[in-house]
Amino acid sequence: MVKFTINGEPASVEADPAMPILWVVRERLGLTGTKFGCGMALCGACTVHLDGQPVRSCSTPIAEAEGKAITTIEGVAGPEGELSKVQQAWISEQVPQCGYCQSGQIMAATALLRDNPSPSDAQIDAAMAGNICRCGTYVRIRRAIKVAAGLEPAKGVAQSAEVKA
């Protein structure tokens, strides 16, 4: 029996201690926002926070969560469902395409901004290099992180038609 908290709620799971956090979260706890991409900690789609630190849940055994706090994408918004600054920026900059990697991107960006509220471009690149976006939304992720940090103004989602005839 492994005991931990998941998005603030206590949980205990009977599982092989070697089973990765990813599969416990997805299959046992029904939280499917955390994604499987590679199984080898190479793509970052499975990123969750373990006691606040971003980890690759596909390669972190559930035993390591004993007594710790797991936060998934479902736990990023506030208690009333209010979106975090990072999530809001992801909407205002219209970041996602297919969206499959974005849970992991948001978890990585959230951890970055907590530790470094005003990251430079190089710091953003370094912190986000572990997260692959196959659709290629990196330019927008970079901008959204700056918007969330207050370093750039939000573009806003309902712009008027700049290319309209």
Partner: protein, 748 residues
């Protein structure tokens, strides 16, 4: 060239003339409006399949209202990140004069009523084919029939907006608006022409009456369907051409978006299957030892399916662990190709055999031998591109429940009706006994135009009889799927004394789609011979994002660049001089050159390269700047100018260009699926590398709306210029001409 004045009336009128519009009321009073392109009223049959909550009114098969005045656009195309769901709804909502905050999107059910007839028409007859008016109903009925026979509920070819959007969603919205107006005019006793619609509200100034659409939804369903609803002229667009925020994005930032891999079946315990296909295509499992796996925890069933092995377990991880413990031997492959060298040698042999005139002619114009004979300078080059895996981040997966002569499937697919037919055939069922739910996809890129993975899950589900979710490992996805083909292309060119390209002789080995990908018709080159010398592929084919353009653009625009240098001309000037008959292409190229400050010199160690392509109806030029000071290429900037005719959602279009550029740079720098002993060597993202954030250049995109009546696509056209622009930049910076992809390893 900016032809914005005329609304697309003729085409729309044609469409409604050949269409049948039906309306009806759903249980609870929902109104459905349908542009049925087939005779009969589709609403009665479709109603139950698209019904939601109480108080809904289905106005046609493409839209419904609920009691809160929310309109739901029922969208036939699939969503894989390209944004079609939202933009199709945006087009419908504009013609409807709906408030964008009151618009929802629903995926149309997997039903023959939703075949994308106009997409089929484009695929089969080309975008420009129009029948005489009197023939339209027959012609349209024919394409609908073909669509149904071919299970034509397809999302591909960068086509959703320019086909279904232009010719179905807009008409549905316009018809519904007109019916709502008609219903209100009748109730209020005022002329329809005096009723104004805006923001999902009807109003009549003189009488001071106003009402939300939903109030008249039921009465609208009783109205006669307008046969030629008037479509808006561009000057009246209110949502089209704006950055209306995408409806699917909020669910993608809070973890609530449901992909195929997230499927659950209420009340059922899910089981999971891990699979291992044979390593070399065409081989079979000869011997399997599963004794160790059998004893492992959580294992429910072990299956030897001949072409693959599967373990079904209580959890995916346990199933995969057990699968890893299974050893197997395989039959001897029939293909003589064992290595990538073998594959390219086979290509070279086919090109050698074709020589200067052999192979199957694709384009023949002028007199190439004579032009070559009299050319002042001759150049030649061979190029090659490797196999590629699509690598969508959501690995192939499908959830299947086969029981009692029925089959239910949950899977991300670009071809839900084909998946349904394939499953029915495999199970010996009728298509009606198979239900396909297709949630949004974690990337498609052409890979999910194939149904191989769905069929594997169906076979597993048939063996278990209980619900099972099959998930491919990343390694399976990289090694055992279907691939963008490798290809080789051989060019000879002749320049006249003024440095003009007067002869073009080209032969290559792979021709799939689209037919025109091997030509650069916008350049004025008087004598051309373009031929294909077909050579067998060792790995099975799947369309890749931009399909043949993904290799051909690299070949063609690299050779154009070589020709420019051979002529001693600036690559921009050289191209512009050949665009006398292509003003839109010229404008795009001039735009990107201005964006990139082409005429200025880049910093020391840097170089810029450019490329111009037209694919899927969109003209795109890109300039790449590369920094070689570290001894290997680092892409610092990409400038992109694009003319899609008219960008329905400019921000969404830009996002697709940005994505296409990153996809193209990834392939150009790193993309390589290579063979050893007939099997794919790469396995995961460590040896099949993707461009990452720290390598992603700054990207600027500008749009030219060059012809609002002739829309181009968005999902694919950003990709083709990226590889040649990068290769040409590497040449400019280092003097090294890139004739084979990928690039990065050549500087390792």
């Amino acid at each position: 060239m900016n032809d914005m004045a005329k609304p697309p009336r003729s085409r729309a009128a044609k469409w409604t003339r050949r269409g049948f519009i039906g309306a009806g009321v759903l249980a609870g009073g929902a109104l459905l409006i349908g542009v049925g392109v087939r005779p009969g009223n589709p609403v009665d049959k479709l109603g139950p399949k698209v019904a939601g909550g109480e108080g809904e009114q289905l106005i046609n098969s493409w839209l419904k209202f609920d009691a809160d005045n929310v309109v739901t656009a029922i969208v036939p195309h699939c969503e894989m990140g390209q944004g079609a769901h939202s933009v199709l709804a945006q087009m419908l909502a504009d013609e409807l004069d709906a408030d964008w905050s009151l618009v929802k999107v629903m995926q149309a059910p997997t039903d023959g009523s939703y075949v994308v007839t106009d997409t089929i028409r484009m695929f089969i007859a080309g975008g420009t084919v129009d029948a005489p008016d009197w023939l339209e109903p027959t012609w349209n009925g024919l394409f609908t029939k073909i669509g149904q026979l071919a299970d034509g509920l397809i999302t591909g070819g960068s086509s959703s907006i320019r086909t279904t959007g232009q010719h179905t969603m807009r008409i549905a919205g316009a018809a519904a608006r007109q019916m709502l107006v008609g219903a209100a005019a009748k109730e209020w006793g005022v002329p329809a022409g005096e009723i104004v619609t805006a923001n999902s509200t009807l109003s009549h100034k003189a009488s001071g009456k106003s009402a939300p659409y939903a109030q008249f939804a039921a009465a609208a369903a009783e109205q006669d369907m307008p046969q030629t609803p008037k479509l808006k002229a561009p000057k009246d667009y209110r949502l089209m051409g704006t950055d209306a925020p995408r409806t699917d994005i909020p669910a993608k930032v809070d973890g609530s978006a449901q992909f195929g891999i997230d499927a659950t079946i209420p009340g059922q315990t899910m089981t999971y299957a891990a699979v291992r296909r044979v390593p070399v295509p065409g081989t079979r499992v000869a011997k399997m030892d599963a004794s160790a796996a059998k004893a492992m925890p959580g294992v429910l069933q072990i299956l030897n399916m001949g072409d693959f092995t599967a373990v079904v377990g209580d959890s995916y991880w346990q199933a995969q662990q057990a699968l890893n413990a299974i050893t197997a031997e395989y039959t001897k492959p029939e293909s003589p190709i064992r290595s990538s060298q073998d594959q390219f040698a086979a290509f070279a042999a086919a090109l050698d055999e074709a020589g200067e005139t052999g192979g199957k002619e694709v384009i023949g114009q002028g007199d190439v031998p004579a032009a070559m004979q009299s050319a002042a300078k001759k150049i030649s080059a061979d190029y090659q591109a490797p196999y590629l895996a699509h690598a969508p981040l959501e690995p192939m997966n499908a959830t299947v429940w086969v029981r009692d002569g029925k089959c239910e499937i949950w899977t991300g697919t670009q071809v839900p009706l084909m998946a349904r037919s394939a499953a029915a055939k495999a199970l010996g069922l009728s298509a009606d006994d198979v239900t396909v739910h297709h949630p949004i996809m974690g990337g498609g890129f052409g890979r999910r135009l194939e149904t191989d993975y769905v069929l594997m899950a169906v076979r597993i589900g048939q063996a278990t009889g209980y619900p099972v979710k099959m998930i491919w490992s990343r390694e399976e996805d990289t090694q055992k799927g279907l691939f963008r083909p490798a290809d080789m292309s051989r060019f000879a060119g002749g320049l006249d004394a003024q440095g003009r390209l007067v002869a073009w002789n080209n032969v290559f080995t792979q021709r799939h789609d689209p037919a025109e990908a091997c030509d650069c018709a916008f350049y004025d080159i008087p004598n051309k011979s373009i031929r294909v010398a077909e050579a067998d592929l060792h790995l099975p084919f799947a369309a890749f994002r931009s399909v043949d353009h993904s290799q051909q653009a690299f070949f063609i625009e690299s050779f154009i660049d070589e020709a420019a240098h051979a002529a001693g001309r600036d690559p921009l000037e050289f191209r512009l001089a050949m665009l006398g008959n292509s003003p839109r292409h010229k404008a795009v190229l001039e735009k990107v050159a201005a964006m990139a400050n082409w005429s200025t010199k880049p910093a020391a160690g840097r170089g810029r390269g450019l490329a111009l392509t037209e694919s899927f109806g969109s003209i795109v030029a890109e300039v790449v700047e590369v920094d070689m000071t570290g001894g290997k290429p680092k892409v610092t900037n990409v400038w992109c100018a694009a003319d899609p005719g008219f960008a329905m959602n400019p921000d969404g279009f830009r996002n697709q260009m940005e994505g296409g550029i990153v996809f193209g740079l990834t392939a150009a720098l790193y993309g390589e699926i290579s063979l050893k002993d007939g099997a794919v060597e790469q396995g995961n993202f460590h040896d099949y590398q993707m461009l990452r954030m720290n390598e992603c250049p700054a990207i600027a995109v500008e749009i030219i709306n060059g012809n609002h009546e002739k829309l181009g696509g968005a999902g694919e056209p950003g990709l083709p210029p990226a590889a040649p622009a990068l290769a040409n930049a590497v040449f400019a910076a280092s003097g090294k001409r890139i004739r084979a992809l990928p690039i990065a390893k050549q500087f390792a």
